[in-house]
C-alpha cells in the first residue's frame, strides 16, 4: 500500500535508452552522429521559431520598412509605436478578460461534469454504463461542421429561457460556453484513469461513513489531480484558440474573445506593422501558458496523444 495514487503511465520512465548503447556512445563516429542529430534538431527549431521571430521583428517596423520590396530584415529602430496603435485600436483588456471568462467557465464545467460522469460510469455502476459510454464515444466521430447549423439554431431559440420561453443566446457568453462543456474526450480519458483506482479505497471511505458525494470530492478528485490538470490545460488551450464557433455566434464586440477580436481588427485592413503588433500581443498569453505549464502540456501530449 505504498502509493495508491495512480499516475499516467506514459512517460513514467525518465529516460529511455536510445539506439546507441553505452559503449557505442564513447566512439568518435557516434559522437559525430549525435552532433549531426543535434544540429538537425537545432535547425528544425530555428525553422519552427523563424516565423515567430519574423512576427516580433515585424511588429517593430515602421510602415516604410514593412512595405519595402526587398524586405528589411531587421528594423532600424525598435520603437513601440505599433503596439500603442494596436492597443488603441483593439480593446485587448476586454477581449482578454472575455477569453479568460469563457475558458474558465468551460474548463470548470467540463472538468466537473466529465469527472462526475466518469465516476458514475466506472465506480457507481450506473445502469447501461457500457451503452452510454459507447454513445459518448460516438460523438468523437461527429465533425463539428455537422453540428454548427443546428447548434446555431438552438442558440438562437434556446428553449430554456425564463418561463420556458425561447431565448436568444446569440451574442452572449452562454452561446460559446454551453456547447464546449460536454467533452466525450475528457470523459473517456478520466474513465480510463478511474478504472485504475482500486475500489478498496472507495469501500474504506464508504465504511467510514462517506456518502458518494463526499467520496467523490474528498477522495476521487484529489487522487486524479495529475490527469485533471492535463485535461484542464488542454481544454483551456482548445477553448482559447477556438475561432470558428465564436465567429458564428458572436457579433457584438463586447463579447469577442481575444482571437476573434484580433481577426476583426485585421479584417478592417490595418497596415501590417500594426497587425503584427496585435498578433504578438495575442500570442503572448499562449506562450506564457506554455512556459508555465510546459511539464503538464508535454506530459499531457504523451498521455493523451494516443487519443488525439
Amino acid at each position: 500500500m505504498e502509493n495508491l495514487t495512480p499516475a499516467p503511465n506514459a512517460g513514467a520512465k525518465p529516460t529511455a535508452r536510445g539506439v546507441f548503447s553505452h559503449q557505442d556512445r564513447k566512439k568518435a563516429s557516434t559522437r559525430l552522429f549525435l552532433l549531426g542529430a543535434t544540429l538537425v534538431l537545432i535547425l528544425g527549431a530555428l525553422v519552427t521559431l523563424a516565423p515567430i521571430v519574423w512576427m516580433v521583428l515585424g511588429s517593430f517596423k515602421t510602415p516604410a520598412e514593412i512595405y519595402s520590396v526587398p524586405q528589411t530584415y531587421i528594423p532600424a529602430d525598435f520603437n513601440t509605436d505599433n503596439y500603442e496603435e494596436a492597443l488603441r485600436l483593439v480593446e485587448f483588456g476586454r477581449y482578454f478578460l472575455n477569453s479568460l471568462f469563457i475558458c474558465a467557465c468551460v474548463v470548470a464545467g467540463q472538468l466537473l461534469i466529465s469527472s462526475m460522469a466518469a465516476y458514475s460510469l466506472t465506480k457507481l455502476r450506473v445502469r447501461f454504463a457500457g451503452g452510454i459510454l459507447l454513445m459518448f464515444m460516438t460523438t468523437l466521430m461527429v465533425p463539428f461542421e455537422v453540428l454548427i447549423i443546428p447548434l446555431y439554431l438552438i442558440m438562437k431559440f434556446f428553449p430554456f429561457g425564463p418561463d420556458l420561453n425561447n431565448v436568444n443566446l446569440i451574442n452572449t457568453y452562454w452561446a460559446v460556453i454551453l456547447p464546449g462543456v460536454f467533452s466525450a474526450f475528457s470523459i473517456i480519458v478520466l474513465k480510463d484513469f478511474y478504472d485504475s483506482i482500486p475500489n478498496e479505497i472507495l469501500y474504506a471511505a464508504r465504511i467510514d461513513g462517506c456518502n458518494e458525494t463526499r467520496v467523490f470530492f474528498r477522495f476521487i478528485l484529489p487522487m486524479t489531480k495529475p490527469i485533471m490538470s492535463i485535461l484542464a490545460v488542454f481544454s483551456f488551450v482548445t477553448t482559447w484558440n477556438s475561432f470558428f464557433w465564436p465567429l458564428i455566434v458572436l457579433n457584438n464586440p463586447d463579447y469577442y474573445p481575444l482571437v476573434l477580436g484580433v481577426q476583426k481588427l485585421i479584417d478592417t485592413g490595418e497596415p501590417w506593422n500594426v497587425v503584427m503588433a496585435a498578433l504578438v500581443l495575442s500570442t503572448i498569453p499562449s506562450v506564457l501558458l506554455l512556459l508555465f505549464f510546459q511539464k503538464t502540456i508535454i506530459r499531457g501530449i504523451a498521455y493523451t496523444g494516443i487519443y488525439g
Partner: protein, 421 residues
C-alpha cells in the same frame, strides 16, 4: 387494590391492532405478510402514562415504584392508586391529554411499527431483493444524478443537434419560419454540385500533400531527440510553440509571409535570384502554402507523440539486436521504426480527420482561395449557411461530409476503444 388493567395511552390503538394494510411494493410473492402493532408498551410509554396518572390521580406515587421500573405492568397492578375514580374516566382523560400533546408535538407515538424484518426468516427460500420503485434519492438514482449533467449536455448539444441537422438537411430552410420539406433534393444538389466535389478533392489533396511533406520529419526528429542528452526540455518547448499559439495569429503571420509583394519568402527567393511565387494567389500554389503552414504548426506536436512512444520502447530489443550483431541502420529500421508503426497509423488517421475539418487557417489565409483552389468543406459550408443563409443545403453537405469521413472515424473510433479497454 383496584382491578386495574393496563391500557394503552393511545386512543387509536384498537384500530391499529387490526392487520395493517401493506403497501403494494412491500408485498412478497406469497403476499401474506401479516403484521401487527405489538401491544406491549415500551418503557417510555409507561413513564408517560405514570406521570399523567400521577397528575390526575394525585396520590399515585409509591416508594416501590422506582425499584419496580423493570416490570412496569406487574408493579402497576400492585400499585394502589386511583382509588375512588373509575378507570374508564381516567383512561379517557389520559388519552385525551396524550392526544392533545401529540397534536402539539410534545409526545411521539413510540409504539413499535410494522417492519419487514418481522417476517420470520424462511431458510430454504432465497432472499430476493424487493422490486422497489424508482426513487430519486436511492443509491441507483445517485449514480444517475452523477451522470445526469453530462447526459443532459450530451443530449442537448450533441444528440439533438445531430437529429435536428439531419432534419434540416431534408428541408429548404428559411430563417423566417416557413421551411419546406423537400426530401432528398439537397443531397441530389450536392452530388451534382461541382464545387462540392472540388472541396472533396481539395481536402484529399490537402491530406496527401500534408502526409507527403509532414509525415517523416516528426519521426526523424523524435528519434534524434531521443538520442541526444542535452537540451531536450528546451527543444521540446521550442517545437511545441507553434502548436500552442492560436490559429489566428499563426495563419495571419503566414499570410503575411506568403504575401506576393512584401512577403519574406519571395524576398528570400529574390535574394537567391529565383522568380517570386504567388504563394496564396496562384491556384497551383495556394493549397501547398496552406499545407506548409499546417505542417509547421503540427510537426512539434506529432514529434512529441512519437517521442513519448519511444520512451516505452523496451531496451531489451536493442540489446538483443546488438548481441546478434546488428548495426545502427538495422536497429533503426528493424526495431525503432516498426515500433512506431501503430503510432504512425493513429497520427495518419488524426491527420486525415483534422485536414478534412480544417477551417480557420483556410478562412484566414485565402477564404477559399483563388478560383476555389483552396475551398474546403468547412469554408464552403460556412459560406452557404451564413453567407447565403441556405441552411438546408449546408446541412446536407455537412451530413455528406460526415458520411465521407465515416470510414476514417470508425477506424479512429476503434483505435480509441482499444486504448480505453
Amino acid at each position: 387494590m383496584a382491578d386495574y388493567k393496563p391500557f394503552s395511552i393511545y386512543d387509536d390503538d384498537d384500530e391499529k391492532k387490526k392487520s395493517i394494510q401493506i403497501p403494494e411494493e412491500m408485498k412478497t410473492r406469497s403476499g401474506d405478510l401479516d403484521l401487527e402493532i405489538e401491544d406491549s408498551p415500551s418503557r417510555d410509554d409507561e413513564k408517560t402514562r405514570r406521570e399523567l396518572m400521577n397528575q390526575l390521580g394525585g396520590q399515585a406515587s409509591h416508594p416501590l415504584e422506582a425499584a419496580a421500573e423493570h416490570k412496569p405492568s406487574e408493579s402497576l397492578e400492585k400499585t394502589p392508586f386511583l382509588q375512588g375514580q373509575s378507570t374508564e374516566t381516567v383512561e379517557e382523560r389520559v388519552k385525551e391529554i396524550v392526544r392533545r400533546r401529540k397534536e402539539t408535538g410534545k409526545v411521539r407515538d413510540r409504539r413499535k411499527v410494522a417492519s419487514i424484518f418481522d417476517k420470520p426468516i424462511e431458510p430454504d427460500k432465497p432472499i430476493r431483493p424487493g422490486k422497489a420503485g424508482w426513487h430519486p434519492l436511492s443509491y441507483r438514482a445517485q449514480a444517475f444524478w452523477f451522470l445526469f449533467p453530462a447526459l443532459a449536455f450530451f443530449l442537448l448539444f450533441y444528440l439533438y443537434p445531430m437529429v435536428q441537422g439531419f432534419d434540416i438537411s431534408l428541408t429548404h430552410y428559411s430563417p423566417l419560419g416557413k421551411s419546406v420539406s423537400v426530401g432528398w433534393d439537397n443531397y441530389n444538389r450536392a452530388i451534382s454540385d461541382s464545387l462540392f466535389w472540388q472541396t472533396v478533392v481539395n481536402a484529399a489533396a490537402f491530406t496527401l500533400i500534408s502526409l507527403a511533406i509532414g509525415f517523416w520529419p516528426p519521426i526523424v526528429l523524435a528519434i534524434f531527440l531521443n538520442e541526444i542528452t542535452n537540451g531536450k526540455g528546451f527543444l521540446k518547448v521550442l517545437y511545441l510553440l507553434p502548436f500552442v499559439i492560436p490559429a489566428i495569429p499563426a495563419a495571419n503571420l503566414w499570410k503575411w509571409m506568403f504575401d506576393e509583394g512584401f512577403g519574406v519568402l519571395n524576398s528570400i527567393l529574390q535574394a537567391l535570384s529565383l522568380s517570386p511565387v504567388g504563394w496564396l494567389t496562384d491556384p497551383r500554389w495556394a493549397l501547398i502554402s496552406i499545407v506548409l503552414m499546417f505542417v509547421w504548426k503540427n510537426t512539434g506536436w506529432f514529434m512529441l507523440i512519437y517521442y513519448a512512444s519511444l520512451q516505452n520502447l523496451p531496451e531489451e530489443l536493442y540489446e538483443a539486436a546488438e548481441l546478434d550483431g546488428a548495426g545502427l541502420w538495422k536497429k533503426v529500421f528493424n526495431i525503432t521504426v516498426p515500433y512506431l508503426v501503430p503510432v504512425m497509423w493513429i497520427l495518419s488517421i488524426i491527420q486525415v480527420l483534422i485536414t478534412f475539418q480544417i477551417f480557420t487557417e483556410v478562412y484566414v489565409m485565402t477564404n477559399g482561395g483563388p478560383m476555389h483552389a483552396t475551398e474546403v468543406i468547412g469554408t464552403y459550408i460556412y459560406k452557404t449557411a451564413f453567407g447565403s443563409m441556405d441552411l438546408g443545403y449546408a446541412s446536407a453537405m455537412a451530413m455528406l461530409m460526415f458520411a465521407a469521413l465515416f470510414l476514417f472515424t470508425m477506424v479512429r473510433f476503434f483505435q480509441i476503444r482499444q486504448v480505453s479497454r
